[in-house]
C-alpha cells in the first residue's frame, strides 16, 4: 500500500531549457525540479507569483496546491505534508514571515525537512508591500524563540532563485531542518535568462530508516547527528512533539534531555557548517578593500567595483550565497589581509554586525546601508570604497 517512490516525479515535469523568467517563477520551478509536490501558501506581495505558479503547475504533475487561511496555517500544513512523506514548501514576505516564526521552531525541534521562501519587502509592519528590502535577515536567524541554528540562502538573480531553491530542498533533507530562501522583491520580480538542465539537477532523497521498527529510534542522530525519518503510515509508529524529547521522541522535560537534544540540534548544523556554507569570491587576492555582501545588494556592488577599479583601487568581493550559518572563518581570514571591509545591504545594519564580529578588530568594517524601497546607488558604495582605501 505504501508508495514512497512517489510516482509522477519524472524529469518531464521539470521546465527544461532556456527561459526568460522572473525570480518568483524561477523559484517555483526550482521547487518542482527538486521534487516539491505540496505547496501551502497565502497570497502576499511580492511573492504571489510563486504561489500562483504552484497553483497552476502542481495539479498538472501529480502535486497538491493548498491555499491556506493564513501563514500560520501555511507553514503548519507544510510541516504536516513533510511528515506525510512529501517534499513541501511555502513562500511569503515579511508580515507572513513573522506569522510563521512559531512553527519554524516546531520544524527545527521536530527536524522536519521543508523550504520557506521569504521574498523580502520593506518593513516593519506593512511597510513597503511592493518594494525591496533585506530587512528580515536577522529575523531569519533569530525570529523563532529558543536557541537554534538556521540555514538561509540569499539569491541574487532569477537563475539563483531556481538553483538555490533546489539546494535549499537538498540541504533540508540532508540536515532535516527547515531551510530558508531569503530573496527580495527585486530578485523576485526581475526577469532574466534562466537555464534549466534536468540532467544537472541533483536530488538529496529523504533519509529513511535503515533498521526495523523494533530497533528504530526516531530522534537518535547518526554519525553526522542527523536522525533518519519515518513518515506517517510507514509502520514506525513515531511520536513527534515540539516538547523536549528523548531519542524515542517521547517528551522528557529534564535538564539532561534538553542538554542532549540542544547539543545535537545545534551541533548538526555547526559541526557540519563546512558542508553548508557557500560563498563566492571575486578578486579577493591582493585586494585593499573587500565588499562583503549578499542577494540583490551584491548586484549593485558589482557596478561599484567596476567604478573603483577604473580609479585604480583594488577591490574584491565576498558574496554570501548562504548567509546562515554565517561564514565566520572566511570573513575572518580576509579581514587580516585588507585595509577594510565594506558591507552594502538593504537595511540599516544587520549582517554588518556579523562581519564586525568575524573581523574581530583586524580591520575597519563599514556599513553602506539603505532603508529599502530601492537599491543602492553604486556611487554611494564607491565613495565608501574610496574612503576605506585611502
Amino acid at each position: 500500500m505504501i508508495n514512497r517512490k512517489v510516482k509522477g516525479m519524472s524529469k518531464k515535469d521539470i521546465l527544461a531549457g532556456e527561459h526568460f523568467l522572473n525570480g518568483d517563477v524561477a523559484c517555483a520551478e526550482g521547487a518542482i525540479a527538486a521534487g516539491c509536490r505540496l505547496f501551502a501558501g497565502y497570497p502576499i506581495t511580492p511573492q504571489s507569483e510563486i504561489t500562483e505558479t504552484m497553483a497552476y503547475r502542481l495539479p498538472k504533475i501529480g502535486g497538491y496546491f493548498l491555499q491556506m487561511e493564513d501563514e500560520l496555517a501555511s507553514i503548519a500544513a507544510v510541516l504536516g505534508g513533510a511528515w506525510g512523506g512529501m517534499k513541501a514548501m511555502t513562500a511569503t514576505s515579511g508580515p507572513g514571515f513573522s506569522l510563521m516564526m512559531e512553527n519554524l521552531g516546531l520544524g527545527i525541534m521536530t527536524e522536519t525537512p521543508c523550504v520557506i521562501v521569504d521574498v523580502q519587502r520593506g518593513g516593519p509592519s506593512t511597510g513597503l508591500p511592493t518594494a525591496t528590502s533585506q530587512g528580515d535577515m536577522m529575523q531569519a536567524r533569530w525570529g523563532t524563540h529558543g536557541d537554534h541554528e538556521i540555514i538561509a540562502y540569499a539569491p541574487a538573480s532569477p537563475q539563483e532563485m531556481f538553483d538555490q531553491t533546489v539546494k535549499a530542498f537538498n540541504q533540508s533533507e540532508r540536515f532535516r531542518q527547515p531551510v530558508l530562501v531569503m530573496a527580495d522583491e527585486v530578485v523576485g520580480h526581475m526577469m532574466e535568462r534562466v537555464i534549466i538542465d534536468p540532467d544537472k539537477i541533483e536530488i538529496y532523497p529523504r533519509r529513511k530508516p535503515s533498521v526495523p521498527y523494533e530497533k528504530f529510534l526516531p530522534y537518535k542522530g547518526g554519525p553526522d547527528m542527523v536522525p533518519e525519518m519515518a513518515c506517517a503510515g510507514e509502520g514506525y509508529r513515531v511520536h513527534v512533539t515540539g516538547l523536549t524529547h528523548d531519542e524515542r521522541g517521547y517528551p522528557d522535560l529534564s535538564v539532561e534531555s534538553q542538554d542532549k537534544l540542544m547539543h545535537r540540534l545545534i551541533g548538526k548544523i555547526r559541526d557540519n557548517a563546512d558542508q553548508i556554507i557557500e560563498v563566492e569570491e571575486e578578486n579577493i587576492h591582493g585586494a585593499d578593500v573587500v565588499l562583503v555582501t549578499y542577494g540583490i545588494a551584491a548586484r549593485t556592488a558589482l557596478r561599484a567595483m567596476e567604478l573603483a577599479e577604473e580609479k585604480g583601487i583594488k577591490v574584491g568581493m565576498l558574496r554570501l550565497i548562504t548567509v546562515w550559518p554565517f561564514p565566520l572563518k572566511e570573513v575572518r581570514k580576509i579581514a587580516g589581509d585588507v585595509k577594510g571591509l565594506i558591507v552594502p545591504e538593504l537595511n540599516l545594519g544587520q549582517i554588518v554586525r556579523e562581519v564586525e564580529r568575524a573581523a574581530a578588530g583586524q580591520c575597519p568594517v563599514r556599513l553602506v546601508g539603505h532603508a529599502g524601497g530601492g537599491l543602492h546607488r553604486p556611487e554611494n558604495i564607491l565613495s565608501a570604497i574610496e574612503e576605506v582605501a585611502r
Binding site: M1, I2, N3, R4, V6, K7, G8, S10, R37, L38, A40, P59, K60, I61, G62, Y64, L66, M68, E69, D70, L72, A73, S74, A76, A77, V78, L79, G80, G81, A82, W83, G84, G85, M86, A88, E102, N103, L106, A230, C231, A232, G233, E234, G235, Y236, R237, V238, H239, V240, T241, G242, L243, Y250, P251
Partner: protein, 294 residues
C-alpha cells in the same frame, strides 16, 4: 501496612493483554491527567472505536495541539503528532493531503481541546470545515484551560468562574455544533464522557465518513473548572450530564447551547453526504490532466 521504601516496579503479568493495548504506548502510561478528568474516558472510546473498526495501528495517524487534550497524541501507538498551540488542524490538513499521494486510505484523526481548536485555532476550524478536508476532529470541551490552571476560554459559560474570571465570565460562549454545522461540516455530533457507547459509535461514524467530521465531547475538569463552579468531583459532573443531557438526534444546532443548570442537547446534529476537498481535486485532475500519479 508494610512500609515501602521505594516506588514499586509495576508487575507485568506475562501473556495477559488488554484487548486494545496495541493502540497505546503502554510505556508512556500512566497518563498525566487528573483524577476525575474525562480525557482518559475519551481516549478509551477512541481506542475502542479503532478496535471495533479493526483499524490497523499503521493505517491511522493522530494529531493534536497543545493543552491537556494535546497530550493524547503521546499516549497512542499510531504515528502521532503533538503540534503547536492551535495549529493541529492545518498540520493535519497538510498531513492528510500528502498521505493521499503516499498512502491513500490512511486516516487522520485530530484530537484537541476547546482552547486549542476554538480560541487560538478558531479560524483554522471554520476554514477546515468549509474546505471539507477529510479529517475526523474529536474535540474535548471541558469549558476551560486546564493545563495552564483554569483560565476561562471561548466555551466557558457566561457567569462561570475561572482564574482569569474571578467574578464570573462576562462573555458569551460558542455554540460549537452550530458553528461546525454552519461552517459546512457534513457530520456533527455531541456526547459527554457519560455516554461512552454512543460516543464510541459517533467516533466510528466520524472516522468512516469521508470529509470533515466533528464530535464534541463534553468532559469533566474537576480540578480546574468543576471545583470553581459547584461540581467539585468528576462524579458530580457525571451526575450533571445524567440529569441535564437530553438525547435528541438531528436537533437544530442553533438549540445546542449549554447553559449551566439547564438541560442541553446531545446526539447527532448533522450527517449528510458532501464531496470532500480531495475528492473534488482528484476528480478535476483525473478529468483534465494526464498525471502519472493517479
Amino acid at each position: 501496612m508494610r512500609h515501602v521504601a521505594t516506588k514499586p516496579e509495576p508487575q507485568i503479568v506475562k501473556d495477559v493483554h488488554h484487548p486494545l493495548e496495541h493502540y497505546f504506548r503502554s510505556e508512556r502510561l500512566p497518563h498525566i491527567w487528573c483524577s476525575g478528568c474525562g480525557l482518559g474516558t475519551a481516549m478509551s472510546c477512541l481506542a475502542a472505536a479503532f478496535g471495533h473498526l479493526k483499524l490497523d495501528v499503521d493505517d491511522v495517524s493522530v494529531v493534536s495541539g497543545i493543552g491537556c487534550s494535546g497530550r493524547l497524541a503521546g499516549y497512542m501507538r499510531p504515528d502521532s503528532y503533538h503540534t503547536t498551540h492551535g495549529r493541529a488542524l492545518p498540520f493535519a490538513t497538510g498531513l492528510r493531503v500528502a498521505l493521499e499521494k503516499t498512502k491513500p486510505g490512511h486516516k487522520v484523526v485530530v484530537f484537541s481541546g476547546d482552547g486549542d481548536l476554538f480560541s487560538i485555532g478558531g479560524n483554522h476550524f471554520i476554514q477546515a470545515a468549509r474546505r471539507n478536508i477529510d479529517l475526523s476532529v474529536f474535540y474535548v470541551n471541558n469549558f476551560n484551560y486546564g493545563m495552564t490552571g483554569g483560565q476561562v476560554g471561548p466555551t466557558t459559560p457566561m457567569g462561570a468562574k475561572g482564574t482569569t474570571a474571578p467574578y464570573g465570565m462576562f462573555e458569551h460562549p460558542f455554540n460549537l455544533p452550530y458553528l461546525a454545522a454552519s461552517s459546512g461540516a457534513p457530520y456533527v455530533a455531541r456526547w459527554t464522557t457519560l455516554h461512552v457507547h454512543r460516543l464510541q459509535k459517533a467516533m466510528e461514524e466520524a472516522i468512516q465518513k469521508k470529509g470533515f467530521t466533528f464530535v464534541e465531547i463534553i468532559a469533566p475538569c474537576p480540578t480546574n473548572y468543576g471545583r470553581r463552579n459547584g461540581l467539585p468531583t468528576g462524579l458530580d459532573e457525571m451526575r450533571y450530564y445524567r440529569e441535564e443531557a437530553v438525547i435528541e438526534n438531528f436537533a437544530d444546532p442553533k438549540d445546542a447551547e449549554i447553559i449551566p443548570g439547564k438541560p442541553f442537547i446531545v446526539g447527532t446534529f448533522v450527517d449528510e453526504d458532501k464531496p470532500d476537498y480531495l475528492e473534488i481535486y482528484q476528480k478535476f485532475v483525473a478529468d483534465h490532466f494526464e498525471v502519472a500519479a493517479k
